[in-house]
Symmetry: none
Subunit: 204 residues, 2 copies
């Protein structure tokens, strides 16, 4: 999907909210009223841009002929496994650790992801990650400093902030002062990055 400007996003949200509220799409004038535009052509040009980028379709010559294109509607009701972060020394992230499957629209967190990880412990407490939270994990090696990663050293899986300290040294930092920084020397220790966190779900 092509990128969208903030104004175009406002218009898109406006359409969604309007449909949710009234049951039918807005006119150009309705959009202007909602967003404070003074000319119907302001709405018109935004609609054309959204259509060009594939977010909506417009039926020409038809009043309120706007419909939102949701390419993920067919794939709706995707099931993602919830994997338990079990005690150290176990072969985690394997199929046998699947707690259950969880129904969640794809692209729920903007980016795609692969599975949910059930969090154990409070080592990332100050990042707002609590015990039993579900982290949406995207399998990737594309990690930037400051990303929250799911890292494996030997058989132990851990969730930490990633910081490349030097070409050979990686720091895995907790977000809780009761836990200590893990310094990994890549020359002597094998570090495997399972992926990174792209979202979080908590059930109260």
């Amino acid at each position: 999907m092509k990128d969208i400007t903030s104004q175009q996003n406002k218009v898109l949200n406006c359409i969604q909210v309007y449909i949710k509220k009234t049951g039918f799409p807005p006119t150009r004038a309705d959009i202007c009223k909602e967003l404070g535009f003074k000319s119907p052509n302001s709405a018109e040009t935004h609609l054309r841009a959204l259509e060009k980028k594939g977010f909506i379709s417009i039926e020409s010559g038809t009043s309120r002929g706007i419909s939102i294109i949701n390419p993920e509607i067919e794939n709706e009701g995707d099931e993602y496994p919830i994997i338990g972060l079990v005690a150290a020394g176990s072969p985690t992230l394997a199929t046998e650790n699947v707690e259950k499957v969880f129904n969640c629209p794809q692209g729920f967190f903007g980016s795609n992801f692969d599975y949910f990880l059930r969090v154990r412990g409070l080592s990332m407490k100050d990042a707002g990650i609590m015990e039993d939270d579900l982290i949406a994990v995207k399998k990737t090696q594309d990690i930037k400093n400051g990303d929250i990663v799911i890292a494996r050293i030997d058989d132990e899986v851990t969730v930490k902030y990633f910081h490349r300290h030097s070409p050979k040294i990686v720091h895995l930092q907790p977000a809780n002062e009761d836990f200590s920084n893990i310094e990994v020397d890549l020359e002597h220790t094998e570090l495997f990055i399972e992926g990174k966190s792209v979202g979080l779900i908590r059930e109260n």
Copy 2:
């Protein structure tokens, strides 16, 4: 619900199918075309009958202003509004604060809920609730001590732990030592509980 004639039922189905297919409701002429009527007034009178019986609502003077009234819409709605927790003194939780709608399977958090609240500030930091998180809010007055509630005092909306200290005194407790406890004397101050948190979503 009153009984419906077979012709009226055809019209009702026609509307539903049309919306499903196009994303917006039909005009009188569209209905005629679908069902073989030769006068727009045929559709008009059926629509009036359906409105009178409570199956649809018609927005007067509005093209395609038909919406289907579905009493089970709360149970099958997949789209939930995200409401921004705006600055103090504003009439929050009103429709005009809807940021956008968020697609989420019903019963996502075990319990049903009504909307998402966008969190501002860090007053519940130690409960793992961070800025910009989305709290799934269930509108209810069924609150137990220790629940995370969305409370309103005058026009100010806040998210806090609920603790009934005595029959007339309620404590609204933050989860951040930088913030102070709010003691509410129900005899002198009006406290309205909007609902409670049943879940949380974070987009990284």
